[in-house]
Symmetry: C2
Subunit: 251 residues, 2 copies
């Protein structure tokens, strides 16, 4: 079994609770102070038939040298990537939202984006298989386990993926500094949409921008630099959530 690692108490609990991940085993430090979360990990492991072992702290430090493992590391199967066709098929008939990352490579940003996506009810995240980030253990940790609650779709060509989404009734929204429309000026409700977010400096590639049905910018009150990409994504997604909540209230 090919394995990857996740570390930290919350990440391991999330992965166990989701039931979406295949575990090899869980390593717990001999001298970790037992607390509610460690007990929860042991209980969940027993319930799910996952082996756990107590090992010397040094062994954990050798696997995760930055020392952020909090005494717990799990060896699990890598994230199950989902095929775009399967994703589209599976979500037919319900209002569906995906986020497309074009050149966003920093693991902390990708993890934080996945976390916001799950909170905002986004069903899928599309990343390019050649460039872009892998879903590594930093992403899993930063996402607070959210990687287990969303379809992660790796594609060879973002252009083809966007075209396929358009053919399947998705509207394409691109976040772009140069846009004329503000992000709060479009109605995100009652449509399937794909939100494209680009790298902080380079922005979204031209070939993708051309495919966008809407380009939106987040207005700023100063001309300082720009927002961090994970914050920008959260701002747009929660404008969508706010619109939806307002609408449900008035209906």
């Amino acid at each position: 079994m090919e394995t990857t690692i996740i570390y930290g108490k919350n990440a391991v609990i999330e992965a166990l609770e989701s039931g979406e991940r295949e575990f090899n085993k869980i390593l717990i430090s001999n001298n970790v102070r037992s607390d509610v979360k460690i007990e929860q990990i042991k209980k969940l492991a027993i319930k799910n038939g996952v082996v756990f072992q107590f090992v010397a702290k040094e062994k954990l430090n050798a696997i995760e040298p930055d020392g952020r493992h909090q005494g717990v590391i799990a060896q699990i199967a890598p994230v199950n990537y989902v095929e775009l066709n399967d994703f589209i098929e599976r979500n037919k008939g319900k209002t569906t939202t995906v986020v497309v990352l074009d050149g966003v490579e920093d693991s902390h940003n990708v993890g934080a984006i996945i976390r916001s996506c799950v909170c905002a009810g986004v069903q899928g995240i599309i990343i390019p298989s050649r460039r872009g980030v892998l879903i590594n253990s930093t992403v899993e940790k930063t996402s607070a386990g959210a990687t287990n609650h969303i379809s992660i779709i790796k594609v060879n060509s973002l252009v083809s993926a966007i075209q396929k989404l358009k053919e399947n009734d998705y509207w394409v929204i691109a976040s772009d500094h140069h846009a004329e429309q503000n992000h709060y000026e479009i109605d995100y409700t009652d449509m399937n949409f794909a939100l494209i977010m680009g790298a902080e400096h380079a922005g979204i590639s031209k070939s993708l921008l051309k495919l966008a049905d809407f380009k939106v910018k987040i207005p700023m009150l100063t001309n300082f630099n720009s927002l961090n990409v994970s914050n920008a994504t959260a701002i747009i997604l929660f404008e969508y959530v706010s619109q939806l909540c307002r609408k449900q209230k008035t209906n």
Copy 2:
């Protein structure tokens, strides 16, 4: 001169451009590939009378061992903290916004929050001097230099600081999971406000919550965990920015 370091091309450029920071010197790696940003650093340094030296890469690695310095490290005076009284006095007569961090300690989060604050036109950020984070080089780097564009106010007691703000016509808004009101249901425009953000798990301390005029929550579409605190801050601040932009358009 007591010094701290900032590293990375953008952080050094921002600090030079702001004119707000006292430089000791700038160290540039001997074998850094010269590009637009390195040239800009050299020009700005000459213009501002700041010494720069070319040194072996190993010297930079010794100062910033994580290797994220991109070939440039500046030794500068630590952030100038501002007194709360001075801040209030200086901003009298204009609509003013501050963000108060209660127990937010992760340097990446603090840096990202400061960056969003500057983009949203927030004038001050209040942190407790005992607990909480120092404005270290990770904060400066993550903020993309935004620490130079905002008043950073360190206080002994957050409770006293909030009380003082209230006496000076600031409304106090607390972000709280348990709030009844959604973040988009209050009008942030035309008032001075202090937005209190708490640590992700512990939330805001009770003594501060009691002082809040409004408690707001960000509604979510799933019951997954919660948002990262920097994303939550960005969502609330940009609801305020959106309200302001809409209002200016209709006036």
